[in-house]
Symmetry: D2
Subunit: 344 residues, 4 copies
């Protein structure tokens, strides 16, 4: 069955598989010290326009969030996130497992509103009586968000300024970063992202890799003895080459951006199919995830022809479902989707 269930249902982009084969017999040192990791670091630094950035590779998104947040927060601090943030609800308490609180803010279409953030921090630090409360020590946001939406350049600049006013690092979860950068409505480049935040990661798992996230510390702020902290969290890969080769490939000849652009084009055509077939969008996502409100009967009928994801209950008779595209989505998939939509 054709599937739009997520952006991690297929394997890796074929170029990655090819490269894993070509480099397979080489003897390389472990734990991220090999030449492919180093080459990937160089290419990422260049793509970010930050020669001094520090780049480290981790295996998955939740792991990366937990490692970054817990190594950068002070003991008495928590991380501020949207109530719908991945760290708030979809990581089974991975941040709390490291001993830190997620301080949830209201959201709109998955985004933190700059004024709400500003007011929250102003109130917290104005009030002299907060020793019994977790200090906000980092702001976390996802780009694109968990609902596929994008911060505008103005929004991200304001959030960045607010963070710096209070000396709080801004961390951007880029598990789907490529789809944000290549969206037709993107206002922010990779360099913008790198300049506006203190740490972010470039998602591999959901953008064509088998696994892997590339963390970028933008301001010489990589936590001291980071490798040991990574090891302590069970997150250090022995054959670090697996990550190095993948990111080296993704950042050769702009593959990361081509993959992302392809998925965006597929998503745009998918969206047109939904609209031309009278489906109602839950919100207007400009990226590779599309959220549709289906009445429950239609949902069950479609499920027999096409795979997609349950997202959340809309009301007693309707459900929000998600369709995602990726490097592997192709014409045949769209044709099958169209057929399924017409059959309803």
């Amino acid at each position: 069955m054709v599937s739009f269930e997520s952006d991690y249902i297929a394997g890796a982009h074929p170029e990655i598989i090819k490269k894993l084969g070509e480099t397979n017999f080489e003897c390389l040192s472990g734990y991220g010290t090999d030449k492919y990791c180093n080459s990937a670091r160089d290419k990422i630094r260049k793509a970010c326009g930050l020669e001094e950035a520090e780049v480290e590779f981790l295996v998955g998104g939740t792991q990366t969030n937990a490692v970054i947040i817990s190594t950068m927060l002070a003991d008495y601090e928590g991380v501020v996130a949207a109530k719908t943030g991945h760290v708030s609800i979809h990581e089974a308490g991975a941040i709390e497992f490291t001993g830190h609180e997620v301080l949830e803010l209201p959201q709109e279409n998955g985004k933190i509103k700059p004024d709400i953030l500003g007011q929250y921090l102003a109130d917290f630090f104005a009030d002299g009586n907060h020793e019994h409360m977790t200090f906000p020590g980092m702001v976390y946001l996802s780009y694109p968000t968990e609902y596929g939406t994008l911060y505008t350049k103005a929004e991200l600049k304001t959030i960045s300024e607010i963070c710096h006013t209070y000396h709080i690092p801004l961390f951007i979860d880029g598990a789907r970063l490529g789809y944000g950068l290549m969206s037709s409505r993107a206002e922010l480049t990779l360099q913008d992202i790198a300049n506006l935040c203190d740490v972010f990661y470039i998602g591999g798992t959901k953008v064509g890799a088998l696994c892997g996230e590339a963390v970028v510390f933008t301001k010489g702020n990589k936590p001291k003895h980071f490798m040991t902290s990574v090891k302590k969290r069970g997150a250090l890969l022995a054959k670090g080459r697996l990550l190095g080769v993948q990111f080296d490939t993704l950042f050769t000849d702009d593959l990361y951006f081509h993959i992302s652009r392809h998925a965006i084009e597929m998503a745009e055509r998918m969206k047109e199919l939904f609209l031309s077939n009278g489906l109602r969008l839950y919100l207007d996502s400009p990226t590779n995830q599309q959220f549709v409100i289906l009445d429950n009967e239609r949902m069950e009928a479609m499920r027999e022809r096409i795979a997609f994801s349950f997202w959340e209950k809309y009301d007693d008779s309707h459900t929000v479902v998600r369709f995602a595209t990726s490097w592997s989505t192709n014409e045949d998939d769209l044709a099958a989707l169209e057929e399924a939509l017409l059959a309803q």
Copy 2:
């Protein structure tokens, strides 16, 4: 340069790379629910002779140790391990990070002595005044050990019986399990291991995979909602297929055992080279890791021709170094080693 630095310096066994390519375009569900994971589970259960065993896949060894130990211990319990155990010293405090203590026992050649374990547990549970001490709640041992040595069948049976007397699960770290099973001096089969312990894992990373460890719960004792606990530790791989395909390949046509046997044969020849060239072994390892005592000058000279690992200081003028073989070690490597030894 030819390298014997570790058993994770090369990529994966070519059969695995091939299979990753062949299955790459298939649409598969995530998080270890795909058909390759299920097929690998079946094959592993069969190889263990335990139809009801529960099999789960994790990415690396330290991660697996931390996940298993922390999900199986009660709050007031710690894990008993040899002072030289991997969890005791080489995991940067990964077990402690989960809130649990490693209770260290003296060792001999990397092994826990059954009588010392028995006496320790007898004393602990006899003494009525231990509420201020961490309770021993699991016994951890490595097979082969961190020094490449093997428990005899009699030893492992005795340890297993001691554990069951005190209702404490026995956990076997099998990061290099294949090399123990295929050693010329092995007394224990995979079925023996599976029968004698409560939980163990079959190491992939060090036995031909790119990454991955297959955890086997032998007694219907998989912790409840294990997937959520794995997620909470940042250890859940989105594209679980990466682990499923690899273990499915490793357990097809006995590949896991062939890889292991090959490395053992190479190690046996390497050991003969050491002995015939007058090198002194630190201990008599029957597996793929060989530990040699070199005087420091010779060590530096050899280092220019061959890569190996510093293990520990022996005395002021000698060092213990480690040479390891793997699926990728070949005739040319041994020839280069011989040449280097003769050149001294």
Copy 3:
């Protein structure tokens, strides 16, 4: 200056001080095993009408919340609480420090609404796709709440039933329990509380003791080796007698209830003073904490005569402040308050 700043600004009820002196020279065993602890346990069991209840003593409220929640939750579970719950915001992340998430629900006047709780649990357990989310594993509520309000008997019964439907324990934070039980509007007795929940505590610190909270496990559900888990959290008092003597005194001749009733009477008269002097209540609290909305100028003026607590910003020109009574509040305090109010 006369102070209504909190219910822990004075020392202990004089009867407690007297008893500490009288028993001071006795040789007693440590860690809560002494005869006063045992006597207090008996009296509390009797007062609760639960002969089989298990009673343990801890030092403070946040400590008690963290110990109870973290020893009773499974690894994959979090605790459900009102967004305004003490564990949600005023414990500096003490629950998260133990590795567990606080799952926040909307509230009304500090209370969890039974229908919202019911719907949340129904949705969570109906949905088959929650492995990536923290499981709700306990419901936490405060009686009285952080805003001094009380659950009705019907509300608490409904919440208790919902918890039992989903096999989730109900934990009642009784840091100010006496004030809830002795309120003129109380519908629930100590026996009712004990019967409706799985675990609760009888607050000492805020109800006449120097320190101490008495935890009551109502259903034979005290976590195994609880003393060791308490020790592990640095919460085991060597001279446990300090807690035993205090609770033994508090539960002799109904002292706990007399102290609570006295504070309620003082609070009722204080409330009348506020209303007759035209102050606006933030909400209608029937217990020993009263929340008043003051314009900021008046607040500053009053502050020079009377001590009270900043609670939260109301709007740009008004503030919510708290006045609390306790065992030590007396006629002179009320007279000084009246004078201060008239002076405005």
Copy 4:
């Protein structure tokens, strides 16, 4: 029955009880901000000869160890301690609960040997390959040790210098500090202790208080927002006065030292009784704890007349037992002990 079971079997020194009564009706702010806490801080600073020292109060010893160690270590660090250190074995894993490893060193009579410590740190930091190991980030020692023994001035100076060579703070657990300072064989004054270490605490619980330990940060090194970190660990006492009044009393007119000297005198006479009655000492302790080797029959017989503590098994027919003195030990107690010894 007369008891030498521990130094925390009686209540507080009568002067403390008196003072708690006298100050009981005063209105005081909470959480350690009251005037008695501040007065006690001043007196302790003066006694230490360190005007700039920061002093904070906590409730008990294990709690203090866990709070200090976990707030002062970096993520990748553990604490170095003797194998017999309180943090190593008698705290039920309280340090590990905070996510940090205890790195155990061999000991002699309860003491870390400076040369062993020096060699361990030299090896660790010389070796370039320790990223997979917990970094030593603090040295912990007890003064007196868990066996009642004392470091000489030369030993402590050497340890202090070693720590500073490696930029590792030295933390002294002074749960029984007074007994070390007032021992006839003491070479170190309170000022020496304060000067040689980075942080230490003055034990109250075992030296005449109901509870309480006074932590002294000697070098302006109190962790930032320490109160919040204390709260986060459930260790912040609401009625901080309980600790302030006690320490203010202990440091008025040298009460702390008088109490300690009294216990030492009683211990010296007790020791003479043991020796003149032919008992064998396990080691030569110059402080308030005496360790005696008894044959098991004699131990059982004595137990019927005098209370003491089981310490550890000596051999199959002998046991090491502990007798402790405190502020409350008196002539009658010694007479009863003598009678019991003669009766054997």
